[in-house]
Subunit: 217 residues, 2 copies
């Protein structure tokens, strides 16, 4: 029930820092990288480490990938990251795998390789740049929402028994923004949000964990 992080470059490091900020025990994280220098950094954070090539079955079996809770793939090159994803998906059919790709053309192949979540930092930056021209707080709000620290954070959780039958707007834990029902999104303004059902997943904005100042906002 551990988290496998493969590739400990800047994105991988930022991801682990945020996992620790969210309260993940570093002993539940296994970092795989081919560089001893990167692994020293990971070890200093208290993570488990393995020096190896994550495109090989052997390496992923060594970290018991089939028992992992989730996997983060950020190998620095899209081809490598996609091959790692394919390998991991083969060994662990139901594992949630999040991958970073740098080229938009590789987003679809990454999904086809079995990634659950595909993150394209360049594309995201472009969206935030454009958004910032129509409101100067937009990018800061997005950064706050993405991080667990600061004033707010985005949370995903199942609907609670006592919430079933009531509207999304009545949940007491935060501001409900979306429901996933049978994997289909339902917006806060839609009819489906008027009655929560058993099995619904709720996306909500809740108060953040504070501390980490989010860029002056």
């Amino acid at each position: 029930n551990h988290i496998v992080v493969t590739g400990f470059g800047t994105s991988g490091q930022e991801a682990v820092n945020e996992l620790l900020a969210r309260g993940t025990d570093p002993r539940e994280i296994v970092v795989i990288d081919g560089s001893d220098k990167a692994l020293e950094l990971a070890e200093a954070l208290g993570c488990n480490i393995l020096c190896g090539d994550s495109t090989r079955d052997r390496t992923l079996k060594d970290v018991a990938i089939h028992r992992a809770r989730s996997m983060i793939v950020s190998a620095g090159r899209d081809d490598t990251s996609i091959l790692i994803t394919l390998t991991a998906r083969h060994l662990a059919p139901r594992l949630p795998i999040s991958i970073v790709v740098r080229n938009e053309d590789n987003e679809l192949p990454a999904r086809q390789a079995g990634a659950t979540t595909v993150i394209n930092p360049v594309s995201f930056a472009g969206l935030l740049l454009a958004g910032s021209t129509s409101g100067r707080h937009i990018a800061d709000y997005m950064a706050d929402l993405a991080a667990s620290g600061g004033r707010v954070k985005l949370n995903e959780r199942p609907a609670l028994p006592e919430e079933i039958g009531g509207p999304l707007s009545a949940i007491g834990t935060g501001l409900g923004v979306r429901i996933y029902r049978d994997d289909r999104p339902i917006g806060f303004w839609e009819d489906g949000a008027k009655r929560l059902q058993n099995g619904d997943l709720i996306i909500e904005i809740t108060e953040g964990d504070g501390d980490a100042p989010t860029d002056g906002s």
Copy 2:
């Protein structure tokens, strides 16, 4: 009253694509780059173009930077982007400037150089990677929120006269998530959000412009 985009690499291109998706007239966009090939792409989109070095006063004066509505800086290198920001800030003291930096250490210098908004794609990717391990829809929701297309978008606007005195939760245009009052953030759960005041800026989630499928969500 134009938007100046300096650096037409991948981030700059993504930003312009999103601006166009948001309905910006390409004739209101001026793209500056040193590469003819990049400028050909910008021209094909209908943007105005200028071949030049944006770290020089001369270049920025040629695009009438003091009359621009906003500026997007993504020169590919942090040192270059920061120098462009310094130069532009000197020529246009009140211009909103959004800058992309790749190294976390450069976020503060970028602000000190006068950037209004600092975007770090790598840091963002790390946050989204970490977030995706605690909910598999989190990253997709964030991507949808950042883009104007899809199901939702994040909007910033002044409070309307008829909204003054009422609570943030009562606005009819979307789901109010934050207020900026005298540049200070107020969360939807805070007392200050119970009565909107004249001059408040509202951050709200509204329905998106559709079409652009957001990664299977």
